[in-house]
Amino acid sequence: MSSMNSTPSTPATPYTLADYKGLKPRWCSGCGDHAVLSSVLKVCQTEQLPPEQTVVVSGIGCSSRFPHYMSTYGFHGLHGRAFPIACGVRSRRPDLHIFVATGDGDCLSIGASHWLHAIRYNMKMTVILFDNNIYGLTKKQTSPTSAKGLASNTHPEGNLIDPLDPLAVTLGITNVSFVAQTVDWLPGHLTDTLLAAHRHPGFSFVRVLQRCPHFTADVFEGCRRDPTLLTLLVHPQGIPADERTLEKLSNQVTHNPANLAEARALTQDTTHYPVGLLYHNPNADRYDLSSAQGANLSTHERIDVVQKEIDRFLI
């Protein structure tokens, strides 16, 4: 138990990427999930996270296979339910490093209510929304982020309504503390974003725009061909962009991530995707600081209290 609250020291031999790699990923070639996995492995290595202190929680979907491709502890849960599980893991274990992998159907549709409340609880975990605008595992059904008009197996004539904007919703929730967006085709920015997310003392929400090579292969093709459709958010308090990103994304806007109103305004521009840190508040209330209290009480102390409680009912 003594190790519970201590900061793990760097081992004599530093952890390498291989120490975090699990099974060989079985995602399709060209899937954005591969890029995210590489970045998460790099974050683990950069931060020298002990694999036994690291837990990857996921729901169900292509991207939710993520825990199997890591060699850390993992919890491949139920469709839509990654958040309650991850919050439960966190509740009494402040010592663990928690990553959550969730797709657009998993997080924004079947798991939507958990998503909203998890943002509000603001328990420390790094959340990655793998958003490819489609259900992949079940073969091309409309997702909450599918564009209006997108033809799928459930809407062959095209999606009837405009998509839900995960960033706008997240930024609208009380106690939101970290919201960022990045893309799978800029690996440097992706890794930097996840690193910043991991270091955030709270619930960090990172939406990764990515394609599904089979069902939405060209969904972000426009942005890739015309990078000015992406607005790179720059600021000393933001996510430092690497040279390649700065070079590629010439459309840059200075945005102070402490400014929630401005962050919300950024999501109102439906023609551009903001890339970078939209909002950051390291001081938001954290539910896990309360939920972990008392976890170190000794059995002896606990028995004492139980005795007293029972005695309150004595006749």
């Binding site: 502890y73 491949h76 010592d95 209510s113 005695d311 004595l314 006749i315």
Partner: protein
């Protein structure tokens, strides 16, 4: 003063007049004087029914005796009523009999509305015709001499009256009143003490015939709790440290109590955003090595079933308490039923074996939480505890439980996991395995709800799926092997065997005792384990000519067989029929109230009208 072995007292009023408070305090008082007690809340159908409504009785029934009691009994001997109309809802359920003494608020005879005056005089005449003895008591008039706001005081005056009627110890009464009113300030306390004295002295001067019920001679310190408090105390004594819940009647009050006490034992209550999340949160905490439980009731159980399947599939220890209410759907939220047994067993799709237990009284609510936690860990999976609305709000006096480290969950291991040991190192005989906990070096595994092999690796192959499914089932079978056989109530063989489960035990055993004394050859068997069944049940059943269950869930009348060529049996009956291949009968009802000994007796005689040979 008439000395009695036992008495049943009811206090009924319109909702919000404080009859439930009087009942609780009076029950506690009796217990403190050493009586065995069992109390049952009388709950109106609506939150705020109209005043003087025949459907609106709110209050409490207290059965006090010179021995331990485990059910609410049959008809009450004494009733205190704040108006005459609320008595009718009780008369409808057979709560009173010829000779029942009714102590009735008399102010209605002088009410400004003629219709009310008429209702009152007609009812009093009707009560007398039914053979009740009516005492008309000027409760409000007397209270007004002390307090202008009678709404806030009449119940305490009544408490005083009851204490005189039953010769209760005044020191204990004062102590209880102090406990209840002290925090509201000295003025409120002294007013209430004054009201209490007034009621006491009025009764002393006007009600010459009083009663006494001697104490239960059994030694040892005792406590009085309701079933939900017992579940909560048991949870703390079991060493649970995380309770995730979502508000639902009638389970919530267990978590209200925990919310006050749990943090002092270092525990945490999470009120989740919904029933599903509560279950997921508990499983997350358990996966991380922390002992976790959740409280729910029928509709919540329905929502938790997917996660329950995951707990079975991925072998995550967790305790799920279902305080059963009437169903299906929203059903009867405040009322008792035992209709969740099959849902508990089968609601998770796929083969999802789990342990299901049911406490038979309030005392067992406490002890079962400790056993449930131990089993969940031993079998690395979910354990369900089926309590019900009868136990949740009823009160019982029972031996103060002993607490020591053996009931507590041990601290989670953080030592390295043995090299090469699989995450599911299934013992080929028992199916059991030890689990790695995050933090344990070398133990990292990826838990999954997908079919998996012993290394928790996703596996769709036929042989692995067959094997792992068998391993999960083996846990139940091997666990059963080590359980003791259940104890029979009555002779080991004979004509009739009555089988029950859950909160009906007290009523069943009382009915069986009365029939035995009349020369019937019958015994009863009460099951605490519903999955797996305890060993030896088949042999016990085989020792009786005729077997039936008594349950508070639905079964078709026997006439359905002739009328439709089919008949649906009650839930335990169905399971026992499949276990024994015997033509087991049932008498089951869904009245929304606890079964009384008389109801059980009639049920037995109705099911087997011809007396057989031993």
């Amino acid at each position: 003063m008439v000395e009695l072995k036992e008495h049943i007292v009811e206090i009924v009023s319109d909702s919000g007049e404080g009859a439930q408070t009087v009942g609780q305090v009076f029950g506690t008082l009796c217990a403190k004087m050493g009586n065995g007690i069992w109390t049952v809340e009388i709950i109106p159908a609506e939150i705020e029914p109209p005043a003087r409504s025949r459907a609106g009785a709110s209050g409490n029934r207290i059965r006090l005796a010179n021995r331990p009691v485990e059910n609410m009994g049959d008809e009450a001997q004494v009733v205190v009523a704040f108006n005459e109309q609320v008595l009718y809802s009780r008369i409808d359920v057979g709560a009173y009999t010829s000779g029942t003494r009714i102590y009735l608020e008399s102010k209605w005879q002088n009410h400004s509305q003629e219709s009310v005056r008429l209702e009152y005089t007609q009812a009093v005449a009707d009560f007398k015709n039914r053979g009740y003895t009516v005492f008309e008591i000027p409760m409000e008039e007397e209270c007004l001499k002390i307090f202008s706001d009678v709404k806030k005081g009449k119940n305490i005056w009544v408490l005083g009256m009851l204490c005189a009627l039953y010769n209760r110890d005044l020191d204990i009464a004062h102590h209880e009143l102090k406990k209840r009113f002290e925090k509201k300030g000295p003025e409120v306390l002294s007013k209430n003490l004054e009201l209490f004295e007034a009621g006491y002295h009025w009764a002393h001067n006007h009600l010459p015939e009083t009663f006494s019920v001697p104490k239960d001679p059994a030694p040892g310190p005792k406590i009085v709790t309701n079933g939900n408090q017992a579940l909560a105390l048991g949870s703390m004594a079991a060493g649970f440290e995380l309770c995730a819940m979502y508000p639902i009647t009638p389970a919530t009050s267990a978590t209200h109590y925990l919310a006050n006490a749990f943090s002092r034992v270092g525990g945490f209550i999470h009120q989740a955003e919904d029933e599903i999340a509560a279950m997921g949160f508990a499983l997350g905490a358990s996966y991380a090595g922390k002992t976790a439980l959740t409280f729910t009731s029928g509709p919540g159980l329905a929502l938790k079933t997917e996660f329950m399947g995951l707990a079975v599939m991925a072998e995550i220890p967790v305790v799920i308490v279902d305080v059963q209410r009437g169903g299906p759907s929203t059903g009867l939220p405040t009322r008792v039923e035992q209709s969740d047994l099959l849902a508990a067993l089968y609601a998770s799709p796929g083969d999802a074996p789990k342990v299901i237990m049911a406490p038979s009284n309030i005392e067992e609510c406490y002890h079962m939480m400790i056993t449930a936690r131990q089993i969940a860990e031993q079998l690395r999976g979910p354990v369900m505890v089926l309590s019900d609305a009868n136990l949740s709000t009823g009160q019982q006096a029972y031996t103060r439980p002993q607490v020591d480290a053996s009931s507590f969950a041990p601290p989670i291991p953080q030592t390295p996991w043995p090299e090469g040991k699989p995450a599911f190192d299934w013992d080929p005989n028992t199916g059991c395995s030890e689990r790695p906990i995050p933090g344990q070096k070398g133990g990292a595994y990826r838990l999954t709800g997908l079919a998996h092999d012993q290394n928790s690796k996703i596996a769709y192959t036929s042989a692995i799926n067959q094997h792992s499914t068998e391993m999960r089932s083996r846990k139940l079978a091997s666990f059963r092997k080590n359980l003791p056989a259940p104890t029979l109530f009555g002779p080991a063989q004979g004509d009739v065997l009555v089988i029950g489960w859950g909160s009906t035990r007290g009523a069943i055993e009382e009915a069986v005792t009365s029939l035995q004394s009349e020369g019937y050859s019958l015994s009863s068997l009460h099951l605490r384990y519903l999955s797996p069944f305890e060993p030896g049940i088949e042999q016990i059943i085989a020792s009786f000519q005729r077997v039936m269950t008594i349950e508070i869930n639905y079964s078709d009348p026997a006439s359905f067989q002739e009328e439709f060529g089919m008949r649906r049996y009650s839930q335990l009956c169905m399971l026992l029929r499949s276990l024994t291949l015997r033509d087991i009968e049932t008498w089951s009802r869904v009245p929304g109230i606890p079964l009384t000994p008389k109801m059980v007796r009639q049920g037995i005689l109705q099911t087997f009208p011809v007396r057989g040979q031993a």
